[in-house]
Amino acid sequence: MKVTQDLLADVAEVLLTEEQIAGKVAELGQRISADYAGRELTLVSVLKGSLPFMADLMRRISLPLRIDLMEVSSYGGTGTESSGLVRILKDLSAPIEGRDVLLVEDIIDTGLTLNYLIRYLKGKNPRSIKVCSLLDKPARRLVEIPIDYVGFEIPDAFVVGYGLDFGEVYRNLRFVGVLRPEAYES
C-alpha cells in the first residue's frame, strides 16, 4: 500500500467534523450516565479503532466506572494466510461477572466481530452486555445485533479517521472522512 505523507490529501470528503463528533460523544455520555446510574459499569473498548472514542466517551460519563481493553484478530489481519479462526489477542484484565458491560466500538458494519465478542463475553457471566458504537453502517450488516447507543448512521463508504484506519494509517485524523478510492486502489 502506498501511503502519502499528507493524510488530508487522501480524504475525499469530511463526513463528520471534530465538533460534530464531540457533540455526539457528549450526548452519548449523558444518556449512558442516566441509564447506568447506581450500577457497576465496565466499559470495554475493542482495540484499536475504538481507542479515541473510548477516551472521549469515558470522560463524558459522570459515573464511577471501570475500563478494560480487548483485541481480537481480524480476518486477513496477519497479511498471510486467511485460514484459521478469530482469536482473542488481548483479553480482559479483570473479571466482569455480575457487572454491567458496555462494549465500545468505533464502527459496526457486518457485525461479525461484534457477534463473536458478545458470545465470548457472555461466557464470562456479566450482569448485562450492551453495545455503544460511534458509527453504524447498516448497509453492510450481516449479523443483526441490537446497538443500544449509536452515534451516527453513515452511508456505505470507506471511512477513516478518529480511530478508523486503512492499513493501520489515518487513525490519528481528528475527524471521520471518506477515503479517496485512489488511496486504496494504488
Binding site: 481480524s74 480476518y75 486467511s82 479462526l85 478469530v86 458494519d109 461466557g123 453492510r140 450481516l142 443483526e144
Partner: protein, 213 residues
Amino acid sequence: MTDEELTRGPRPSFGFAHASEAEFARILDFYQVNWEYEPQLFPILWDLDGNVLESFAPDFFLPELELLVELTTLQQRLVRKKNRKVRRLRELYPGLRIKLFYARDFRALMLKYGRSALVSELSGTLGQVAPHPGQSDVDDSAISEDRLGGLERLGANRRDADASGAGQPHPNPVRRSRAARRRAGRRAAAAAAHQTVTFVTAILVTAAVTAVS
C-alpha cells in the same frame, strides 16, 4: 460460547462455483458463523398446471442468524437477473431474510480486511471456477416437483449432506444446474443400460456359437 465452539476448526473446502464464495465461506468460518451452501431450492415461477418453471437456490444460509446470502460478483446482466430472483423470493416467501451481496459489498469487505489485492482476482468472471452453462446464471429451471419435495425447513439437509460426505472436498468443483445434473444422470443410466444389453447379447451369442459348434 462453549469450548467446543471456540475450538471449532475451519470446514473442509467445498465445491464452490466462484472463488468469492469460497472466500466468503472462509470469512464466516473465521468468525465462527455456521453456514450451509445452497441448502435449499425455492420455486419462484410456475406454469398454469402448477409445474415449476423457475427456482432459486441462494448461495448461503446462516442458520444461527436465519439469513440467506446471495453473492453477485459477476457481470451486470447476471446481477439484474439475481435482483429479479431475490425480489420474487421476497414476494413469495416474505418470512425469509435474504441479503444480496453485490460486487461492491464484497470489494468493501476485502478492503476492510486488507485484502485489496484479491479484489480483482475474486471478482467478475476471473473468479469463476468454471463458466456456468451458456454463461448464464445457475439454471435452476425445469425441475420436477418431486425433487423439490415441498419447502423443508431451511438448513435441515446440510447436516445430512455432511453425514453423507457431501461436505468433503468436491472432486469436480464445477457447479452444474440441477437440470444439467439430471440430464447427465439420464445419459449415464442410458449408457449403463446400453452396456448391459450389449453384454447380455454378447453372452447369448457366445452361448449360441458354443452350442452350434
